[in-house]
């Protein structure tokens, strides 16, 4: 069953074409890796779907509904969550307080009136926030201010907050960028583990091809603003243009679900 469908999606800034002719269908429950060189249109694609950018052309259908050009908060309410390349958290709050804010909004449904009647420190909100932090493996940082966290923990917190509403689809924009090689696998294990437990459909933009191989069931390869290859990691990684323009001389694909799954 298709949950997200993009048809001929494009975005131009003046005469600069950031993305064009993007079409794809994402099935419910899939984990899809998005690869491409810098400036290939990966983040533009994620931004258009999440409502951060309005597409210049094309149509986006989510869960049977046209969401093209809707405001980001409407799209969030409809069930698409996202994290950012630069983690978007509340710097002067602790990790637990960050999670409480996300949990409280999710429970109140984001409407102003219920948010004005319910207490943020209600026991069930704090409990749910604690549970989420445990699932994502960052409960031990609960008392730390988000400003003082390492890049990796900030990134996980960003994802955990995006997942608080139990979205149908979650998009991770470079979840491991700025994180050391050793920490990347740990991060992905926690994040993917927690997300798969929720049965959410996952789109993730990633530069580390080992991680894409390990976690993606399907890969979308972006070159020059559009999707040039769409298929299993093995099929995509062995293509000439993908090897030349994206993966470089990286070793040929190993079986998905291999060493790091």
């Amino acid at each position: 069953m298709t949950i997200l469908s993009a048809q001929d999606l494009g975005k131009s800034f003046g005469s600069f074409v950031a993305a064009h002719g993007i079409s794809c269908d994402i099935a419910r429950g899939e984990t899809v890796g998005i690869i491409g060189a810098n400036g290939a249109g990966k983040t533009t694609f994620v931004n258009m779907i999440s409502g951060h950018l309005a597409p210049s052309q094309g149509r986006i259908t989510f869960h049977g509904r046209d969401i093209t050009g809707l405001a980001s908060r409407k799209i969030t309410q409809l069930g698409i969550g996202r994290s950012f390349q630069v983690a978007q958290v509340f710097g002067t709050l602790t990790v637990l307080e960050n999670m409480c804010v996300a949990t409280a909004i999710a429970r109140a449904g984001a409407a102003l009136w219920p948010m004005t009647r319910r207490r943020i420190a209600a026991p069930e909100i704090v409990r749910d926030a604690q549970t989420a932090l445990t699932q994502f493996g960052i409960a031990q940082y609960g008392d730390m201010l988000a400003n003082t966290l390492s890049q990796g923990v900030r990134k996980i917190l960003d994802v955990a907050m995006a997942a608080a509403r139990d979205p149908l689809l979650i998009m991770l924009d470079e979840p491991t960028s700025g994180v050391s090689r050793q920490e990347r696998h740990d991060l992905m294990t926690h994040v993917m583990g927690a997300l798969r437990q929720r049965g959410v459909t996952i789109l993730f933009v990633e530069h580390d091809m080992e991680l894409v191989e390990a976690y993606a069931e399907r890969v979308l390869a972006f070159i020059d603003g559009t999707i040039v290859a769409d298929g299993s990691p093995q099929a995509v990684f062995t293509r000439e243009d993908v090897r030349a323009r994206i993966t470089g001389h990286a070793p040929a694909a190993r079986a998905a679900g291999g060493a790091h799954a």
């Binding site: 999440s50 405001a71 980001s72 908060r73 969030t76 309410q77 969550g81 996202r82 950012f84 978007q88 958290v89 509340f90 710097g91 002067t92 709050l93 602790t94 637990l96 307080e97 409480c100 804010v101 996300a102 409280a104 909004i105 999710a106 109140a108 984001a110 102003l112 219920p114 948010m115 004005t116 009647r117 319910r118 207490r119 943020i120 420190a121 909100i125 704090v126 926030a129 604690q130 609960g142 008392d143 960003d158 907050m161 995006a162 608080a164 509403r165």
Partner: protein
């Protein structure tokens, strides 16, 4: 607000109201005006906690005061409670309308746009003969739920009534701070993008805070209108807004009670400075502000009350 602090503060307020009977009578009108201004400062604190400073709260202050004067003069309403309700709601309605414009701005644009709106009202009031032009309007003496206190009793009744409003407002703002919408103030300052991507409109949160601040400021203006028994366009002038900003800095955002202690301190310093050095009292006030910013940046509220976490979430 916990049950204990609610009871304690209520007891303190009741004690102050009763002690009003023994205080020299000239202290009461000054204190009533100071507390009314404190209500306006409380509104500023609600905005400031979300990183917004308004240079135009005089708009709602004057709106509340003029609504009281007009309701008393033209509708023949005399009851103080009803008059304050009318003044408060009039200011809140005005803030609701202005909010559609203001909620789209932040920082200096929010501040100056607020100022611009208040100066429009000032211009209208000064030039409108039916609203008394630059002379303003007098406000007839009010009654209290059927009672008609006279002389010093009236002064005391208005003071006690204002104290009750102060307690109710402070408690309500404290409760609001513990709700989800209230606790989003700090996150709003930290990261608007994340709030939008949690599904909440930051503009609508700002709009809500503009209305709350306008409502409280209007209540303050209503009380001051009744206490002074006169309203005039100066209530909408930018120096009035400047005074609220001044006291807000003096008070700090740490505690709701800081607004009232700050307003009383401001009034005391001003009364003292005006009577002892009539030519240079502004200098004294300026020095007081300078010393506050240098040595007590958290304000009086931060000095007296321990700072609480915005979300109140304790592990």
């Amino acid at each position: 607000m916990t049950r204990t602090s609610a009871l304690l503060s209520a007891a303190a307020v009741a004690l102050i109201a009763l002690s009003g009977g023994w205080l020299p009578i000239w202290v009461l009108p000054i204190s009533t005006v100071a507390l009314g201004n404190g209500l306006a400062v409380l509104g500023m604190i609600v905005l400031w906690r979300a990183g917004l400073v308004s240079f135009g709260q005089a708009l709602y202050y004057a709106a509340g005061a003029y609504a009281v004067a007009l309701a008393a003069r033209h509708l023949g309403i005399r009851d103080a409670v009803l008059l304050v309700v009318i003044g408060t709601l009039a200011a809140a309605a005005l803030a609701y309308v202005a909010g559609f414009l203001l909620a789209r701005y932040r920082g200096i644009f929010f501040a100056m746009l607020s100022l611009a709106l208040s100066m429009i009202l000032y211009g209208l009031l000064v030039n409108s003969q039916t609203l008394g032009a630059s002379d303003g309007l007098s406000v007839p003496r009010a009654t209290f739920l059927g009672f008609e206190p006279r002389g010093d009793d009236y002064t005391w009744a208005l003071f006690a009534f204002t104290l009750a409003l102060v307690w109710l407002s402070a408690a309500a703002v404290e409760l609001y701070g513990a709700t989800i919408a209230g606790a989003l103030s700090r996150p709003m300052v930290d990261n608007e993008l994340r709030i939008e991507f949690l599904g909440v409109s930051v503009d609508r949160l700002v709009h809500m805070k503009v209305v709350i601040a306008g409502l409280l400021t209007g209540m303050g203006g209503s009380v001051v209108g009744l206490s002074v028994a006169h309203v005039d366009p100066a209530m909408a002038f930018w120096t009035t807004s400047g005074g609220f900003v001044f006291v807000a800095i003096l008070a700090g955002t740490a505690s709701v009670w800081g607004a009232f202690i700050g307003a009383l301190a401001f009034e005391a310093v001003r009364t003292f400075a005006v009577s002892t050095m009539p030519g240079t009292w502004q200098m004294t006030l300026g020095a007081a502000l300078l010393l506050t910013i240098l040595f007590v940046p958290q304000g009086i509220g931060g000095l007296i009350f321990r700072r609480r976490r915005a979300t109140g979430a304790k592990p």
